[in-house]
Amino acid sequence: MAILKGVLGAAVGYALGFALVAAVQLAMGNPVGGAAPVVIGSVLATAGWLLGVGLWRAWAREWFGLEPDRETPTGPGRYFRFTTDHKVIGIQYLVTFVIVFGLAGLLAMVVRWELLTPAADLGGDAYNQVMSLHGILMVAVAVAAVLGGLGNYCVPLMIGARDMAFPRLNALSYWLVPPVAALLLTAPFVGGWDSGWTAYPPLSVVNGGGQVLFVVAIVIFGLSSILGGLNAIATILRMRAPGMTLMRMPIFVWSVLAASIISLLFTQFFAASLILVLLDRVAGTTFFEAAGGGSPLLYQHLFWFYSHPAVYVMILPGFGITLEVLAHFSRKPLFAYKGAVAGFLGIVGLSGIVWAHHMFTSGMAHFMNIPFMALTELISIPTGLVFLSALGTIWRGRLWLRTPMLFALAVLFNFAIGGVTGIYLADVATDLHLQDTYFVVAHFHYTIVGGEIFALMAGIYYWYPKITGRMYREGLGRLHAVWMFLAFQLVFLPLFVAGIHGMNRRINEYVEPLQGYNTFSSVAAFALGAVFLVALGNLAWSWARGPVAEANPWRASTLEWTTSSPPPLHNFERTPEVVGDPYPYGEPGAAHVRPVVVPTIAGGSE
Amino acid sequence: MAQAETYERRRGAMALGTAVFIGLIVLDTIEFVVARFADQLLLWMTLLALPQAGLILWFYMHVRQLWREEGH
């Protein structure tokens, strides 16, 4: 019902925006049409969607001095409504982005299908559009699945809060996502776009009409990301339970805080750079057109000033989950907790001053090469601290090799490869050779998929009993972990070599001698894709039919495990009181939280 | 009695607002005049814009409330 109203609102908004611009065009004696009515139409459609789906009912009425509806919907219908419960919103995020992940994964299969043989099967244009859509959808997943999904669900629970600091803003952040998906998926039908997720001009200023929808979609997604970051920071700084000092927070909460600082501030640069592209296309400005005195390089500076820090938005919460799981499943206090926190904050600090290492071959001034190389390589210091913390934690621990732990260990292996190969790309001399080859592709897939997506899987399995109140099949979980780990190595290791031999990225044809690597990688990729069917089957079936989970199946120490699975609407029966460090394993007498009665059976929120 | 005190506090707050406003106008005018005659304008403009922003942030936006409890 709410969604229907939202769609209606979107239709009205689009018609209104289109008519408005068309009227202005008529009045000025210009031909009606072009991109401008579509842009304004899409923006107003988004506003109409939000108002219809619940913003008006639950919030905007207040701005006009009317009484808003403060009811919190219950029952299964709440997942399809504008609701303020952070747990519902977390699940909305997770399910949405699992679907997007599946879609983008299918596109990856198409990419690998095209690259199975050196010849072109698909055609260059179609390939470029598939590759571009795969890229941006996966970037969206990487930015929002962990932060929006697990961050939303777990952070308030882990700090002993009843909800996020701004529950309605939280709902707004989520409901901004469907328009983004709608716009991105409409784009292929109006000409598509072929400039990858990076949308570099001059191509992005002159290519197909889908680029306009891409820009509008990403600006809206940026807004969602900024508001989500804002909310997470305010929640972590203001909503902690008594006794929960900053240095007693579970490490995952720290990683969310660090990532949120980046998305709050830097996302504006991505929005700005894309809006300038839009203005070049629609309003006739000349920011990026060399003919008018503009500079395509300006785009790359603005773009990477966000998009390099964005990779830390992706990986930091991944590190957080990894350390969290390693501590609980090694049954040891997190090693060098303060070092890991310093590592996170050090990464945030450095993230804003390394962007131009993406531009060594772009034609920027040469004097910038060496400073950016040095600054980039400095990042290995805070990253090293995080690794030190991880290795120290498992060192002589009693490892409990359940599914989450297997994924967390895989993150360590994968990210070590991703990190070490990054040094060759940060180094100007080797980057000149490797830039825009499959070495780069393999590198960032090792960091983002091998790091963050593996961590996302660890997190999903780890918190699955808390979120669903059911237990998944452990055997299938382990199968998923091992299979995904092996297949992943087989997909991307050969691509490093192909890259070193000069295989360019973003091409659909390649020379004969590179076929071996590609065919191998493609076959492995199909195997990697297939494992998600197993995972999906396990998780979906267990949600409906799995055995009921206890409140604390892992016997873990942090706050989210002291309440029922799933937690009641208000999270805790009594506000918990924190008395010590988050991982008091093996320390006699130590405790994180003052003992509370733990319900042993699920008491759902329904 | 309490009413008189409130009245005084309010008058003080309003007077502060006016004083800050005069400061802003003076700085803005200096900025405008300097821009017509001086060189090294980027430096001058930064030096003159920062105190204006500071005045607004400190007195009009009460940025101090972020780290200190309500003082008034």
């Binding site: 919907p73 504006q268 | 707050a13 009009y60």
Partner: protein, 192 residues
């Protein structure tokens, strides 16, 4: 089915605590917005250095700066009046702020009419000028809308010392828009 539990959510939080949380949220938003203006201002310097058009109407720019600064004074007065429960003063000062905001917009329109003739958006300076002023004017416009809503919602005298946050929030935003202009004005009109 629905449970009215909104009141449970913040039962641990006193109104004073909620106020501090709201303030933090707004300041974070302002920090984020200042990155947007930083991006646009840095684009101007990247493309043009300190070069500017000779055809700019500097006195008009100065004039609208003064108008915007004056509007900040009245915004401050509106907030102070509301904090001391003076409904009439609050309404009058808010209305004045809106009027000055509209005057600023009129100035921008005059400015654009001149500018379009001398440095249209298809020139490099025009690109920077119209984009920066346009973004800022959009913020002024949203500020005017917010102030108008404040005036409308507060017509029954609901804002006062006990219910101050909506007034404080909107007016902080208005001041921020002024701060942004304090940097944009010299960037576009004065630097050479």
């Amino acid at each position: 089915m629905a449970a009215t539990t909104e009141h449970l959510r913040h039962e641990a939080e006193s109104p004073a605590e909620r106020l501090r949380t709201n303030r933090l949220g707004l300041w974070l938003f302002i920090a984020s917005e200042s990155f947007l203006f930083a991006a646009l201002i840095s684009a101007r310097y990247y493309l043009l250095g300190t070069e500017r058009s000779e055809h700019l109407n500097q006195p008009l720019g100065f004039l609208i700066s003064l108008v915007l600064l004056t509007s900040s004074l009245f915004a401050y007065r509106a907030e102070t009046a509301a904090r001391f429960g003076d409904q009439r003063g609050f309404r009058r000062a808010t209305a004045t702020t809106i009027a000055l905001g509209l005057l600023f917009m009129v100035g921008v329109v005059l400015e654009w009419r001149e500018g379009l003739a001398f440095f249209p958006p298809s020139t490099l300076y025009g690109s920077a000028f119209f984009t920066l002023v346009g973004f800022h004017a959009f913020h002024v416009f949203t500020g005017i809308v917010a102030l108008a809503l404040l005036l409308w919602a507060g017509r029954d005298g609901r804002f006062g010392p006990e219910n101050h946050w909506p007034v404080e929030g909107v007016i902080k935003y208005w001041h921020f828009v002024d701060v942004a202009w304090v940097f944009i004005f010299p960037t576009l009109y004065l630097v050479k």
